[in-house]
């Protein structure tokens, strides 16, 4: 017994010594590798974490600026920033929290930008099948979709557990959109006893993937759209909820600074990122790294790739070009 304990303690000591050595070695390497590199800290709402990490990687490759990404819920990040967390950029899942930071005087009023539009989806298990053979009418848009979704929801609330998962409408924009949709279908009051509420869209999805519920309203971005983006889960059906059924899910970011940021003109729209000259040109710019990152997120290249992640672009191609071509009308205050 005692010898076992001694052995375990020895092993622990050796392990910890080994890991300390590793950490120091790693630290040294980092310092050598990026002696002059700049680092920005970005906070992102959980639903946009996967695309942001991919974009941040591309951004670092182009500019050499390192991006540290922190993932949490919008509400948590908001509370942290309000109490002094040093994030350079905050990507919220809604527009309310960025606006609240502006109202609280933490952020300059012009530092808020819409960066993506979320889309609502309904997932249901393969044993749910409303028998529907009618085809959509062209005269009455979404009538068939309404009936179809209505039948699906009804089926979900009467099959197996009879539970239906949504994100909390008070906390998550997608939860609110789900409520909008169920209200639109005139079924919100009826499904109350069947609702299980996740703290966010990912948890609602988790209730579904672990088999607790047969159907869930989630973000279109969290289901398998592009096989390179997400791993697929077998035996699920996904339908995109028509946008007419819910209030738009606009996601906005803020540059966490009291002084006005310079975003225009967008250097990335005129930049061939495969050209090394372009990269050299970028390093000569005097734009702050965090401003450059936001420019990148709003650039045509990023915005036009948003559908691949299940989002709609929030900056139209035209607006994006206009921003690029407009002259330096805004100076820092």
């Amino acid at each position: 017994m005692r010898s076992t304990i001694r052995l375990v303690v020895k092993a622990l000591v050796i392990c910890s010594l080994f890991s300390v050595t590793l950490v120091f070695a790693q630290d040294k390497q980092d310092k050598q590798g990026s002696r002059n590199a700049e680092v920005i800290n970005v906070a992102v709402a959980a639903n946009f974490a996967a695309p942001l990490k991919a974009y941040a990687e591309q951004f670092s490759r182009i500019t050499g600026i390192e991006v540290n990404v922190t993932v949490a819920s919008s509400g948590t990040l908001f509370a942290q920033i309000q109490h002094g967390a040093k994030f350079d950029v905050f990507l919220s899942a809604d527009t309310a929290r960025p606006q609240a930071l502006i109202d609280a005087g933490k952020v300059h009023k012009d530092n808020m930008y819409q960066y993506a539009q979320g889309q609502l989806a309904f997932v249901y298990a393969s044993d749910i099948s409303p028998h529907i053979d009618a085809k959509p009418h062209k005269e009455e848009p979404y009538k068939e979709e309404s009936i179809y979704l209505y039948k699906l929801v009804k089926q979900v609330t009467t099959t197996g557990s009879g539970k239906l998962a949504v994100a909390n409408p008070l906390l998550a924009p997608y939860g609110e959109a789900a409520k909008n949709t169920l209200t639109h279908l005139d079924i919100w009051d009826e499904v109350q006893p069947s609702l299980v509420v996740g703290k966010n869209i990912l948890q609602a999805y988790q209730y579904f993937t672990t088999g607790g519920v047969k159907g869930a309203f989630i973000a279109y971005s969290s289901v398998n759209i592009d096989s390179t983006v997400n791993t697929s889960i077998p035996n699920i059906h996904v339908i995109r909820v028509p946008e007419a059924f819910y209030q738009p899910i606009t996601q906005a970011l803020v540059i966490n600074s009291n002084s006005k940021a310079v975003i225009t003109p967008n250097v990335f729209n005129t930049l061939d990122t495969s050209d090394t000259k372009g990269v050299e040109h970028l390093t000569e710019l005097t734009i702050l790294p965090s401003h450059l990152f936001v420019q990148y997120l709003l650039s045509d290249a990023v915005q036009s790739s948003l559908p691949r992640w299940g989002y709609k672009r929030s900056v139209s191609a035209k607006a994006s070009n206009e921003k690029a071509s407009s002259t330096k009308s805004s100076e820092p205050t």
Binding site: S73, F78, V197
Partner: protein
Amino acid sequence: MEIFSSITPGIIDAVWLTLKLAFITSIILLAIALPLSWWLANWQGRTKPLIMSVFALPLVLPPTVLGFYLLIAFSPESPLGQLWYNLSGNMLVFSFEGLVLGSVIYSLPFALQPLYSGFVQLDKRYLEIAYSLGFSNVERFFKIVIPLCKAPVVAAFGLSFAHTIGEFGVVLMIGGSIPGETQVLSIALYEQVEALAYDQAHVLSLLLLVFSFILLAALYRFNGIAVSRSVNRS
């Protein structure tokens, strides 16, 4: 008195639900932990350290991770969830019964530890005397052991009760925040913080703190040594 205006019927529901959950969980835990810890304290097998470790594991796993596995285990597609559904006709996940089972697993070490150390320190001569007087095993346990170990029993009950009141991660994963069924105080509190309703959150936190403080103070007052020992240990 203005702060009390934010106490809504929903919050009263959540408080009541939390107390009910903590009480039922602690009663069940006592029923499990009393015989279990007595057996552990009197057993000297080679595999004892392994068995002890298994029962202490809920201390190690992050509550949300433990909750995730309970979510899988309680789902109607798992054997356990299916068995429960066949027996009771209800789902285990997203139900009060599921929360009780989850809390029992989560708080087990807190009931086990004080009882185990109490039983280990018990002077065995009392039992030998009782044996020579012809007491049966059951009689010895209830007439000698329990009265002598009153302090650890109270500590086990109080600690599991307090731990269940503060439980968050597990309930978050398996609860589904259904008002009156699974929306306990800590979940309601979390939702208010996330919804930026800080005033309400402050009131709730204050309630939770004051209540827990009174509970713990009472525990320490009645048997300080037993509680502080087991708290230090865990």
